[in-house]
């Protein structure tokens, strides 16, 4: 009987080994993105660019089948991905929500890319906008590559400025210019004793801080440091307060802005790209002429924009990381795919050489239709080169909520700053240590 047991065990091991290591044919790569626009704007076919990129990849890799998972809305995508990662069932290549990147990277839940980057002689990191590429880095390690970036810009109601005979701000305008225009546009136009037009809506103390060279959070490796004290932040808070005081207690609303009664409002490039040309122009701001300009520089700062970046990484469990890298590179680095973002998406390519290309300017203008826009790609290129991407991490949301509630109260209630900011700084730094 011993002989039969040996045969049985031998067969069992053999069959188990065959089942475990039988090569899958053809090779299948899965890739996940969200079903709707990453930038929160209307888009009838937000996956079109990536579907086309997959087609191109499959032509070059005929033995590889790429399966696109794109049914979950962005609002649910973070939870969906977390569940997949928890159960080890994540796709080979997947979109990483910006707010989860730090968590996944610090726990190495996604594959570090440095070895793949170093081994790839066809890959040149210097072609990317530094601000876009750095969004996928934690310390010196890359955990994701950027797909698209979107800076925030300043919307300007050109019709209103024209009515008040005020010239359009220059790209290097300052807080002084900004305040002066707001002062001139805050008016009671019909003489009923109430203000009807206003200077700015939604210009926050956080944006003012950036414009005055204050980076609220910085990372040094795994350490995060908050900067909530200093004269530059105080100046930003005072400036936002002075803008609000122009409104004499009235709080302008989004509807005032939609009706064309406000001169300035921060707006993302994706919103500009969507609503400036037809057909979506019909939905918003169609009753007046408008454009975008860089943000005004504070006395200590420059004309800076905040930039958000869409990131994609590779699963640690991918059975074929090299192939997954090729696919990721196809999305993030392939010139043709990145070029198509300019005309088919609402974001910006992350490769700087695309925005400086003369053909890109022509195709961008064509895709924007015959609208009378001021913004050129070379201006956007300059904005992207200077733009800032503040780190997003686990405690960051809570810290910002705390800071926002604290500073908004100071602004709204006209409270003295004294040493309140030092206290806030201490509280936030202790929160970051938790």
């Amino acid at each position: 009987m011993g002989k039969y047991i040996k045969i049985f065990i031998g067969l069992l091991i053999l069959i188990l080994a065959v089942i475990r290591f039988w090569p899958a044919s053809p090779q299948v790569l899965t890739v996940a993105i969200c079903a709707d626009s990453y930038w929160g704007v209307p888009d009838g076919h937000p996956t079109a660019i990536w579907e086309k990129a997959i087609e191109k990849f499959q032509t070059q890799h005929p033995n590889v089948q790429v399966k696109l998972i794109a049914g979950v809305q962005k609002a649910d995508y973070g939870e969906w991905l977390a569940e997949r990662l928890l159960s080890g069932q994540e796709p080979d290549v997947f979109l990483i929500p910006r707010e989860d990147f730090d968590n996944y990277a610090s726990k190495e839940a996604v594959l570090p890319l440095n070895n793949l980057i170093e081994a790839d002689s066809d890959f040149d990191t210097t072609l990317y906008y530094p601000v876009s590429l750095q969004s996928g880095q934690l310390g010196s390690t890359f955990y994701a590559l950027p797909l698209e970036s979107v800076p925030t810009l300043m919307f300007v109601n050109k019709t209103m400025l024209k009515d008040y005979q005020i010239p359009l701000p220059s790209p290097t305008w300052t807080w002084q210019d900004f305040y002066s225009i707001c002062q001139q546009t805050t008016k009671d136009t019909n003489g009923d004793g109430k203000l009807d037009t206003f200077g700015a809506y939604g210009y926050t103390w956080q944006q003012a801080a950036l414009d005055n060279n204050v980076l609220l959070f910085q990372t040094d490796g795994n350490n995060r440091i908050a900067h909530f004290e200093g004269l530059d932040l105080e100046a930003a808070i005072h400036f936002v307060r002075s803008l609000q005081e122009l409104n004499q207690g009235y709080r302008p609303t989004a509807r005032d802005f939609d009706l064309g009664h406000i001169a300035f409002r921060p707006l993302t490039f994706a919103e500009y790209r969507t609503y400036q040309p037809y057909p979506w122009r019909v939905k918003k701001y169609s009753s007046f002429d408008w454009d975008v300009v860089p943000f005004p520089a504070g006395p200590a700062g420059q004309n800076l924009s905040h930039v958000d970046t869409m990131l994609m990484g590779i699963s640690r469990h991918s059975k074929n990381p090299q192939l997954a890298w090729e696919l990721l590179k196809n999305f993030s680095y392939n010139r043709e795919v990145q070029q198509s973002i300019l005309t088919k998406s609402q974001g910006l390519p992350v490769r700087a050489d695309i925005l400086t290309d003369a053909d890109s300017q022509i195709s961008f203008q064509q895709s924007m239709g015959a609208t009378n826009q001021n913004l050129t790609l070379s201006a956007v290129h300059t904005i992207m080169l200077q733009a800032i991407s503040e780190p997003v991490f686990r405690q960051n949301k809570e810290a910002m909520e705390k800071a926002n509630s604290f500073i908004s109260r100071i602004i709204e209630e006209n409270l003295p700053l004294n040493n309140n900011l030092n206290q806030l700084q201490r509280e936030i730094n202790s929160l970051l240590l938790q």
Partner: protein
């Protein structure tokens, strides 16, 4: 080898194969270890033709809040008008343990295989905003009276113009859209002064309706009335007309009652829209699902589901919203 030994060997090989396959399934198969599996909540699925249309976003939000208030989870999928992807999503939701799935089909003629598979696993199917050609595919259907919606637009047109050269913006794959256009056509069918001169499919999408309308304006410059299957398509038509400087003098009709279109009606850019009630559709869909699953809604009922007497098809009337009556119907549309 003796015959007895041969039989024993065959038996051992068979047992080993069965044992190995069983073991490998246990060890290597991808198990669903999702967070939801550990929660004792009833899972519902929602699959709409596209969530790029705010109409379905409103329905989804309403359903989610009611389901979550009753210890359930709504897993939403967006096929972005891809019929094949929608079928996969329905099967994925079945695999994830959905007890009921709310479906608004991309292609009403090709969705049956996925629905049949779901129903074989005892998953309840609630059709949203459309009928199926075969009513047996759904356990319950919540729908606006789409034929009436088109009819109301047509009747308004007859009452306010003496003649018209009409362009139709359609979505042939959607039964609800077909019914709206049928209703409109029937309202004007005996009036020779009211001629449909052009028809273009735009999938009910704003960005596709604009080029479709531009094509119509080029080929039929005489067009002075547009009947669009829904509000996004009506706005796409307005974009094309505005861009071409043709909006003034052209009447545009839509169906839905979206905030943007109501605003445009108030400003005269759109003539009328047949207002639906997406929030009510969402609530009645969830109430119907609860009834089918034997669950009880613990929240106070906002619409009395009992009045529908276990109907498998619940049809809600539409109300035509015009500049004159907008303020009288703040709850119609969304």
């Amino acid at each position: 080898m003796k015959r007895r030994n041969l039989y024993t060997l065959i038996l051992i090989i068979t047992v080993a194969v069965i044992f190995a396959v069983g073991l490998s399934l246990l060890v290597f198969a991808q198990k669903d270890l999702s967070l939801h599996q550990n929660e004792k909540k009833t899972i519902f699925g929602g699959v709409y033709m596209t969530l790029n249309n705010p109409f379905y976003q409103i329905i989804d939000t309403e359903m989610r809040s009611l389901i979550e208030a009753n210890n359930g989870i709504l897993l939403t999928r967006n096929p972005s008008l891809n019929a094949e992807r929608q079928q996969e999503q329905i099967l994925e939701l079945v695999d994830l343990g959905a007890k009921a799935i709310f479906v608004n089909p991309v292609d009403v003629d090709n969705i049956a295989p996925a629905l049949i598979k779901a129903r074989e696993k005892n998953v309840k199917i609630i059709a949203i905003d459309t009928n199926f050609p075969d009513n047996n595919l759904a356990d319950c259907t919540i729908v606006s009276d789409n034929y009436l919606a088109g009819m109301q637009c047509g009747q308004h047109l007859l009452a306010h113009r003496n003649s018209a050269h009409i362009a139709l913006l359609t979505h042939q794959q959607a039964m609800s859209a077909q019914e709206r256009i049928d209703g409109f056509r029937n309202a004007i069918k005996d009036k020779s002064e009211f001629q449909v001169v052009a028809t273009e499919d735009c999938l009910g999408q704003l960005e596709l309706a604009m080029p479709a309308m531009e094509k119509i304006l080029q080929e039929h410059p005489e067009v002075d009335v547009v009947m669009a299957l829904n509000d996004p398509a009506a706005m796409g038509a307005v974009a094309a007309l505005q861009h071409a400087g043709r909006l003034s003098g052209t009447s545009v009709y839509g169906v839905d009652g979206s905030p943007d279109v109501k605003e445009m009606i108030a400003h005269g850019a759109i003539t009328a829209t047949a207002g639906q009630e997406p929030r009510k559709i969402g609530i009645l869909a969830v109430e119907s699902a609860f009834r089918l699953l034997g669950m009880k809604n613990t929240l106070p009922q906002r619409f009395n589901i009992d009045q529908y007497n276990d109907q498998s098809v619940i049809t809600l009337p539409t109300i035509l919203l015009t500049r004159d009556n907008l303020s009288q119907h703040p709850n119609i549309g969304y």
